[in-house]
């Protein structure tokens, strides 16, 4: 979604009291395209009005303001000139232009108050923290949800398990790996499956999505049109790091010392001569980050609710991602590959070079370090700090944030590339602290069902 021209300005110049009670926020606010000095804030109102964000580094002093031209019910405002790694308070819409006295008076906000303020439809003050400067290490936590958008109790349980797990530790950003809103990725599906399920996280943590097959029912990558492309504002010109892709279908961004690559495994050209692969090669060659993490919807390996050995399954997209893209990712030194589509959790060994069907898997050849990656077990994975082609990566299928596979007809879960495969709903949490990357799979009951560590030396 293209940005309308945003006009940053100082002062509270946009108080429009007449409109204060005229509109209700029916979606968001939510944060997009986060970069160290900029942030896109989006929200939707029931009627068209001015798009204004007031913000500042003190709750009671939202002294800066940005607005987009014209009036709209779909608000997209880019904040620029921000300080990296800084916590900002913000409020959206004309109703927020004037900071209410009741809020001004608050110097401390309890959790309960914050929850009330964050309720949809209210003129609230939310917070975000800009990403730290690119390059130097900074601790980060990101939350990974594959196939979350079922709108059911399982999705809520997975969400709540994570909220309990993370507690007061902020989520620096989050990834959704496609099939974000069932069944058809319509605007209504997104409203119920994303915006009404994660309002707190949407308002405070930038969201980076990937396109799944269900989202693809209401979106078209070649024209970049449809619901997915309307809802999300993603970097096409390397605004958040990486190399310009020219499309929101696939993109990259940097966060501190990590580089993230999102691919469109569903609807963009996946051929070896295609633009996406050519861009990927250039993007990987250009990064100097310590960590490279790729995410997309269709897994290179799975024996869950999908079978990556079957050419007929998912239009051979899993084959393409394994045979065409995986060699480039591994040549580029990727550390972690996060996918969904299969509604299970599967986690590989530290692998390299397995590009065929599962019968061709040879542990002696493809497993680079035959340990489980656990500090409390047989040891963590160790890699050189410098980007080293084909030193090994971990593949994770984490497609059960909305539902697991049937318990009565359980999937085979027997792909030899995986150290562990679990048919449970859950989500994945990644912490990076300098040269150490920790991953946890948390099920819907809040149990840590897998964990491992990669250390760079």
């Amino acid at each position: 979604m293209k940005l309308r021209l945003a006009l940053p300005c100082l002062g509270l110049l946009f108080a429009l009291p007449a409109l204060q009670s005229a509109t209700t926020i029916i979606r968001g606010p939510y944060l997009q395209s986060a970069a160290p000095t900029s942030m896109v804030v989006r929200w939707r109102t029931d009627f068209a009005e001015s798009s204004i964000v007031n913000y500042g580094t003190e709750r009671a002093q939202l002294t800066s303001s940005a607005k987009a031209e014209g009036i709209s019910a779909e608000h997209i405002v880019q904040l620029t000139g921000l300080k990296p790694g800084t916590k900002y308070f913000y409020s959206v819409g004309p109703a927020a232009a004037k900071v209410p006295e009741t809020i001004k008076a608050k110097t401390e906000t309890t959790k309960a108050t914050a929850e009330v303020e964050d309720a949809p439809g209210r003129a609230a003050i939310n917070t975000f923290t800009t990403p730290p400067p690119v390059g130097p290490a900074a601790p980060m936590r990101f939350w990974v949800l594959g196939d979350p958008g079922t709108k059911n109790a399982v999705q809520a349980a997975v969400r709540d398990a994570y909220y309990n797990f993370t507690g007061t530790r902020a989520t620096d950003f989050w990834l959704i790996l496609g099939d974000n809103a069932y069944p058809d990725g319509t605007d209504s599906d997104y409203q119920k499956a994303i915006f009404e399920v994660y309002p707190k996280t949407l308002a405070t943590s930038p969201l980076w999505p990937a396109l799944g097959n269900h989202d693809g029912k209401s979106a078209n990558s070649i024209t970049q049109s449809g619901v997915y492309y309307d809802i999300f504002t993603l970097p096409t010109r390397a605004q958040a790091g990486g190399v310009a892709s020219g499309t929101e279908a696939y993109y990259s961004f940097d966060y501190a010392n990590a580089h993230f690559v999102c691919l469109d495994s569903h609807d963009s050209d996946r051929s070896p001569d295609g633009a996406m692969l050519q861009w990927l090669k250039a993007d990987l060659a250009a990064t100097s980050r310590d960590w490279i993490i790729a995410y997309f919807h269709h897994p290179p390996y799975t024996k869950g609710t999908h079978d990556s050995d079957k050419d007929t399954d998912s239009g051979a997209r899993m084959n393409d991602m394994r045979a065409v893209f995986l060699p480039v990712l591994e040549q580029g030194g990727v550390d972690l590959i996060l996918t969904g589509h299969s509604h299970v959790y599967e986690r590989s060994w530290l692998l390299d070079g397995h590009y065929g069907k599962s019968p061709t898997f040879d542990a002696t050849q493809h497993v680079k370090q035959k340990v489980t990656g656990r500090a409390d077990g047989d040891g963590v994975y160790r890699k050189p700090r410098a980007r080293t082609p084909h030193f090994g990566d971990i593949n994770i299928v984490t497609g059960s944030a909305g539902h697991a596979a049937s318990a009565t007809k359980p999937p085979a879960l027997n792909h030899p590339a995986f150290y562990l495969a679990i048919n449970e709903a859950g989500s994945t949490v990644v912490d990076i602290t300098g040269l150490k990357l920790d991953v946890v799979f948390l099920n819907d009951k809040g149990e840590k069902r897998d964990w491992f560590t990669i250390v760079k030396e």
């Binding site: 892709s245 020219g246 079957k310 051979a316 080293t388």
Partner: protein, 263 residues
């Protein structure tokens, strides 16, 4: 024949696509309640087509066509299916029909451009790409690349630069333009493009190496060596841990072998 159509309608292979079972079941129930509703067959056909179950998709499209031949999107989807299954002439008929009914259908326009290209009708393809690119608010880079493939090198470069002007400094468009510029002997233009890419990149060395390779192929040996030396200088400016990376060590050795000198 009827049996085949019925088999196709129900999509025998849904078991190969577990994810669509629920969706098909939902539409099946709707069709059972309203068997004369053409849009439901269209929806089911589209579902099958997305999973490349072409027989089931076509059977559903045919049924939709029987019930409501002017159903919106039907002709476009039949065109897409025909093109995907290698029946370009048939695809053109459907897509012409789609665009007659809905001239603003961007998806149909792009599909017809590709159909023309498949049929070797380059001018017709180019016209459709021109129209699609004019109409699309956010065209994917692929469209500029596809159009460029139909054009003489000189026009293709202009087309790619138009894409760069609209979409930003997209590396895939630059790479295609570079190859064309070199094929036309426009070495200075290609070198300038590489300079731009190097300036925009966090890792300049690989672009400078390409610059050296380009100039070496053009017989401009001294300039090539200067580019290789600049690449070595770029590597020298990297932190030690990046200089020690295997691909950087390999590149450093290559640059030295090609005549580059360290600063």
């Amino acid at each position: 024949m009827l049996a085949l159509v019925l088999i196709g309608l129900s999509g025998l292979s849904t078991r190969a696509h577990p994810e669509i079972e629920d969706a098909v079941a939902r539409i099946n129930a709707q069709i059972a309640a309203a068997p004369g509703e053409a849009a439901l067959y269209l929806e089911r056909g589209e579902l099958y087509a997305r999973h490349e179950d072409w027989i089931a998709a076509e059977a559903n499209y045919l049924r939709a066509d029987e019930l409501s031949p002017h159903l919106p999107r039907l002709a476009m989807l039949r065109g897409a299916l025909s093109l995907a299954t290698g029946h370009a002439t048939e695809a053109k008929t459907h897509l012409d029909q789609a665009l007659t009914r809905t001239p603003d259908d961007l998806e149909a326009l792009i599909l017809r451009a590709r159909t023309h290209a498949t049929l070797g009708a380059r001018d017709a393809a180019r016209l459709d790409y021109d129209a699609a690119l004019a109409r699309a608010s956010a065209p994917a880079p692929d469209l500029f690349l596809e159009r460029a493939a139909l054009l003489p090198a000189d026009a293709a470069i202009r087309s790619l630069d138009e894409g760069i002007a609209r979409l930003g400094s997209v590396v895939t468009l630059h790479l295609r333009a570079l190859a064309l510029e070199e094929s036309l002997g426009r070495i200075d233009a290609a070198a300038a493009r590489l300079d731009r890419l190097a300036a925009e990149s966090e890792r300049r060395e690989s672009w400078l190496k390409r610059r050296g390779d380009l100039l070496a192929r053009a017989g401009r040996v001294a300039e090539a060596r200067a580019a290789y030396s600049a690449a070595l200088a770029a590597i020298e400016s990297l932190p030690e841990w990046l200089r020690a990376a295997p691909d950087t060590v390999k590149l450093t050795a290559e640059l030295a072998r090609f005549g580059g000198t360290r600063p």
